[in-house]
Symmetry: C2
Subunit: 414 residues, 2 copies
Amino acid sequence: MTDRWDEVRDVDRRNSLGVTAPKGFWAGAAAAGVRDGQAGRTDIAILYSEVPAAAAGMFTTNRVRAAAVEATEARIRQQRRLQAVVVNSGNANACTGEQGAADVLTMQVLTADLFGLDAGDIGVASTGVIGVPLPMDRVSKGIEEAAKKIRDDGGRAFAEAILTTDTYPKEAVRQIEVDGRPVAIGGAAKGSGMIHPNMATMLAFLTTDAAVDPVFLQEALRRAVDASFHCISVDGDTSTNDTVLLLANGMAGNRPLTPEHPEWDVFVGALTETAVDLAKAIARDGEGATRLIEAAVEGAGSAEDARRIAKAVIGSSLVKTAVYGADPNWGRILCAAGYAGVPFDPSRTDIYIGDVCVCRGGAAVPFDEEAARRVLRGDPVPLRLVVGEGAGRAVAWGCDLTERYIEINAHYRT
Amino acid sequence: MTDRWDEVRDVDRRNSLGVTAPKGFWAGAAAAGVRDGQAGRTDIAILYSEVPAAAAGMFTTNRVRAAAVEATEARIRQQRRLQAVVVNSGNANACTGEQGAADVLTMQVLTADLFGLDAGDIGVASTGVIGVPLPMDRVSKGIEEAAKKIRDDGGRAFAEAILTTDTYPKEAVRQIEVDGRPVAIGGAAKGSGMIHPNMATMLAFLTTDAAVDPVFLQEALRRAVDASFHCISVDGDTSTNDTVLLLANGMAGNRPLTPEHPEWDVFVGALTETAVDLAKAIARDGEGATRLIEAAVEGAGSAEDARRIAKAVIGSSLVKTAVYGADPNWGRILCAAGYAGVPFDPSRTDIYIGDVCVCRGGAAVPFDEEAARRVLRGDPVPLRLVVGEGAGRAVAWGCDLTERYIEINAHYRT
């Protein structure tokens, strides 16, 4: 591990290790042609750990759940352990009935055989069109090929193969020390833009070589996701396939982390930072988006209240179109805060666009409109609401809403 | 009353009476120039009843509430009675602090003086830009002029003066018999599209000459609104000014309606139909919309469950853009149902686009794609979800999402 990090002093290069930055993680990808007519693009990805890894996962709350979501969640609940994950893009394998469930099992068995593992050690994730059975002949060949191609620096290949309408790969890496040993956290994600022809899907994969007590790994993941992926929205549509997986293989050699460990908070903090990096990348790359909106809320009654207000602001079509048009319509921001379902006093609320105060005590103040427009034309666009004197604060991330979003989603198949 | 209806056999003409269809209701409007630079357009409207009317109201749930909303809700709670309503468009009088509250009182006093009433008998509603004080000199002159122009067939003038970005006036009328006497219900509304430069606002005014026990009038309104205005969405943004008022002046001469009256359900049914007409008109006229989407859900565990699923479907940006692009992406519909927060079994769900079954048991079925596209290109667009064997059913109305929506809201001021 230390060797790897000593080698990789260049930050770009380090980030490109993504999920393979932590010790003992390998990844590879193949172009299987899961998407018809896009044969040149990679669409099968495998993540592999040299040793069994403690595993935690969070999955879509949609009642309609893809076959891979059902299978992987069941696995993690049962044994809190995985050693490899196989992912396909281009087909969500959702609303595919018993055939869909059988295909997931086939993917697990195939991958397990190639690595000499048990099918139960394999996590699966899918993203793409809904309601169409997987082309299993191509998927099977793709898995074989991807397995051959895995490398201990294959993170970028993995990050690219899981993309759909994303415009760039999304990776993040953090390094901390636990028990005096270097620990790495890596991650890759795909964006929540909608994909041909159906659905937004968010997938994220986090790896660490830290040893973490499996019972508490889920708690660490929950805290990281609450402050990252749960704070973004592109279009308010919760997909059938959303999956966040965290694998901790212990190869850093630290004492297993639990909440009692003095560096538990350091670990959870770094994990959260990694997840926030990926979440912001997803928000910025929302379909048709031109910039990232960062809404910070202070002075709320609780962090949860602040988060709900921040999410209402970045979720509002009115706010999103105003940012796109560089229009400092603070009334739209205050209105969105008002329907967040959280108690606060609008008459004690101040709003800032960048450093420009555009609303004080819930009412208009004279402000430099051109300065506010400049902020709105920048990227990211920082919005700040001070809603009272409480201790609750939070940040949420979204993107602007443009004609391109409509084009992508209305006219993709026609 | 009978005379009026005998005169007005022509349906268009009858509907054009709108809020003045019931006996004893008068209305008028004036062009006061509340909107700068649109001096020719009417923007002050007055609705007047010859006798005091029992009044019920429902108001925005936004924490940020316009001054008129606060004042009118307080009045109705206190006395359940109004005799006139004054409305301005072009300015929401929201986020305007104490000046805003004082301006509402001025509007009430002015209107009351002109009709020899008490200020407490006057309801007020506003719609338009947020955070800008009302131009009270122009508003005052407008109220005087509108009061001079009231007529017992002034409904259309009223319906036109309350519009903002709406493309047509929205009126509805129903006639029933109660105690063997003809009873009329009239209504006018403005759409929930966003308006320059800030905010969606929905205003609706319902009138009836039925005598209704004031205590139960609110209950009748709640039932009507639940099945109409609460079942539409244009963009998910709840305004600071939403107001629905119902005035019942008793001039039909029936025994006062209560839930014990044998024709209570007939009255509530007709009131609901009137409200549904207005709600559908608002949904169809959503900003940038080209057609009405009507999502019917059957087989849910309860009517409320069905309503939540139907609202999730018509609220989904994915469904809205698919309809715009005439793309029969049923996966988007099922996905939206899945995140409605309601228990149902996706594997027992069928979906229809018009008469075309596009999904059976939560999975793909072969279907005539061109036939489905034809339905999606029509207006309205009927979608139907059968989600199980329960008795719960509901309908919700929305509109497609187009590039024009973005243009209107991103580039209106720039």
